[in-house]
């Protein structure tokens, strides 16, 4: 789809609203062809960052480049490179979905292509509503139309600001397929989302932002490995107190119920090598004469990691 190698670069970008720093000296690079997830709580600065890069916000300090071009000085070039799906649902009460796509092409200097519009309407399951006024579309349809509009000029960079907010599970998974397909075609995608599962499923790299500051940028797997805890939940034949496992070098032992304990451990920590950790825990239980009747294991979710990072920041402050 895209034929321009595009990347995004923030250099010391700050944006203030009165005394509030929505972005505070942000330095960030998004590599060409990757899916980059920007995670943060409400008011962290995610939408502001996308607004600055896409041209919706112009009075910021610092410099932002898209595809090597300055977003303010070379705005005609950078905005052709960028497709934007904003967070807030929007529609044009004067036009139907088909006409909205027709005009959207024109905004970007692209000659409207009826065949492409038909194909996009079918791809996003909007064909049946193609001639319906956009005001009358459901929330999910409006969201799909917004994605369609953002893609009408074949952008090299796609900003998705909470793209699946308020859409059902089926549609969310359809959109994920589309996003992965675009990435495979070489489109660089920047995603903000409150559905952390979404970032976990889609992102190549994750940036954590809070209070306008980028706390961490890492490949998803690396972030999970470095900060992700593993846990094992053991069911015993008799009731067991958590204190029995006090001498185990685990991060946390939690009493789930009388006979069930949840033990959290750091795979790179002092207890054991990751692949031996569960064996060590079971050996420890046996050495105390305990009989394990069931076992469940897993690792912490991105949500847990995210909360941990914010907690660390809070603790350090």
């Amino acid at each position: 789809m895209a034929n321009v190698a595009a990347a995004i670069r923030f250099e010391g970008v700050s944006k203030r609203y009165g005394g509030l720093a929505a972005l505070d000296a942000v330095d960030l690079e998004v590599e060409p062809g990757e899916i980059f997830a920007l995670l943060g709580p409400n008011g962290a600065g995610k939408t502001t960052a996308i607004g600055c890069a896409s041209g919706l916000i112009q009075d910021f300090e610092g410099r932002i480049e898209v595809g090597g071009y300055d977003v303010r000085k070379d705005y005609r070039v950078t905005r052709r490179l960028v497709g934007l799906v904003p967070q807030e649902l929007n529609f044009d009460g004067f036009f139907c979905a088909r006409d909205a796509l027709f005009f959207q092409s024109g905004y970007f200097g692209v000659r409207p292509d009826r065949a492409k519009i038909e194909a996009m309407l079918r791809k996003f399951a909007l064909y049946e509503k193609a001639d319906t006024n956009t005001r009358r579309l459901s929330g999910g349809m409006k969201r799909r139309l917004m994605v369609c509009k953002a893609l009408m000029h074949d952008p090299a960079v796609l900003f998705l600001d909470e793209p699946t907010a308020g859409v059902d599970v089926e549609l969310r998974e359809d959109l994920w397929k589309v996003v992965r397909g675009l990435r495979d075609e070489g489109v660089t995608i920047v995603l903000t989302t409150h559905y952390l599962e979404e970032a976990e499923q889609l992102a190549d790299r994750i940036g954590v932002i809070d209070g306008g500051k980028i706390l961490r940028v890492q490949p998803r797997e690396e972030l999970m490995q470095e900060l992700g805890k593993r846990w094992v939940e053991l069911s015993f034949s008799v009731e067991v107190e958590a204190s029995v496992f006090a001498s185990l070098q685990a991060d946390r032992v939690e009493q789930v119920s009388g006979r069930v304990l949840r033990i959290e451990y750091d795979p790179g920590g002092g207890m054991s090598e990751e692949e031996h950790a569960i064996g060590a825990i079971l050996d420890f239980a046996r050495s105390r004469g305990l009989v394990v009747v069931d076992i469940r294991a897993g690792r912490s979710s991105l949500e847990d990691i995210f909360k941990g990072l914010l907690a660390r920041k809070g603790g350090a402050a």
Binding site: G55, L56, I57, D59, V82, N90, D92, F94, Y107, F108
Partner: protein, 236 residues
């Protein structure tokens, strides 16, 4: 069709009512105004009133509704320059304003009005005024935060000042002091500009009409450009 009904048919019907009330009911009791028949006198005034209203409303409400519906981001995130955005909204308003005015002229001709004194001058003047009010409407839409803000201008500026600007009467009928006051109303020059073009009759010179309308165009252009460039209420 819905858009055509709201944009063109509705203002034409409104103006038709003015013709019926002022042109026929009251106009039949007036022999002439300014040396021409009252129907000929009234027609340019009603056309200018419609032109101003429709030019203003088209750009202001079109743009303001995109703010309300959120679709303004489609334009703001596009490579269009501020001047291109201004040109697009002005062109759309010009089409609507001219179309309604021409329909009104056709209706007036049906009622017997004879207003073809200088068509070229008339069209030039109409384009000038329509562009000015299109840009004024766009500037108003950029700064407006509520529907009431957009409505303020047509309700409290355009309608009263065009009514007082000689749409229905010549200011020569006013007492001396009020004639002087009327000269400070810029809408007077717009109404008289089109009337001079269509009938050759007016209360002021055609030069002053172009001058006042040109200044209004320049101010509206500067305001729209500055507000779009500043991003106030748009890009912040």
């Amino acid at each position: 069709m819905i858009i055509l009904g709201q944009s063109v048919v509705s203002p034409v019907i409104t103006t038709l009512l003015y013709f019926l009330v002022f042109g026929f009911s009251l106009g039949s009791r007036l022999d002439e105004m300014g040396g021409i028949s009252y129907m000929d006198f009234l027609t340019p005034g009603l056309m200018m009133m419609s032109l101003i209203n429709n030019s203003f409303i088209n750009s202001s409400f079109s743009f303001f509704l995109t703010k309300v519906h959120g679709s303004v981001v489609d334009v703001l995130a596009s490579p269009l320059s501020n001047l291109q955005i201004m040109a697009a909204y002005t062109a759309a308003s010009l089409v609507r304003g001219m179309l309604t005015s021409v329909i009104i002229w056709g209706i007036a001709a049906g009622f017997g009005a004879n207003t073809l004194h200088d068509p070229l001058l008339t069209v030039c003047f109409m384009v000038l005024v329509s562009c000015a009010f299109s840009l004024f409407g766009l500037a108003t839409a950029v700064v407006s935060k509520e529907f009431e803000h957009v409505n303020l201008v047509p309700n409290f500026v355009v309608v009263p000042f065009t009514f007082l600007g000689g749409v229905f009467y010549s200011i020569s009928l006013l007492p001396g002091a009020w004639q002087t006051v009327a000269l400070f109303n810029p809408f007077l020059y717009m109404v008289n500009g089109i009337r001079l073009g269509m009938t050759g009759v007016g209360d002021v010179s055609i030069g002053s009409c172009f001058l006042v309308s040109g200044v209004f165009l320049a101010v509206s252009f500067a305001a729209a450009w500055y507000l779009l460039r500043s991003g106030k209420n748009l890009r912040s």
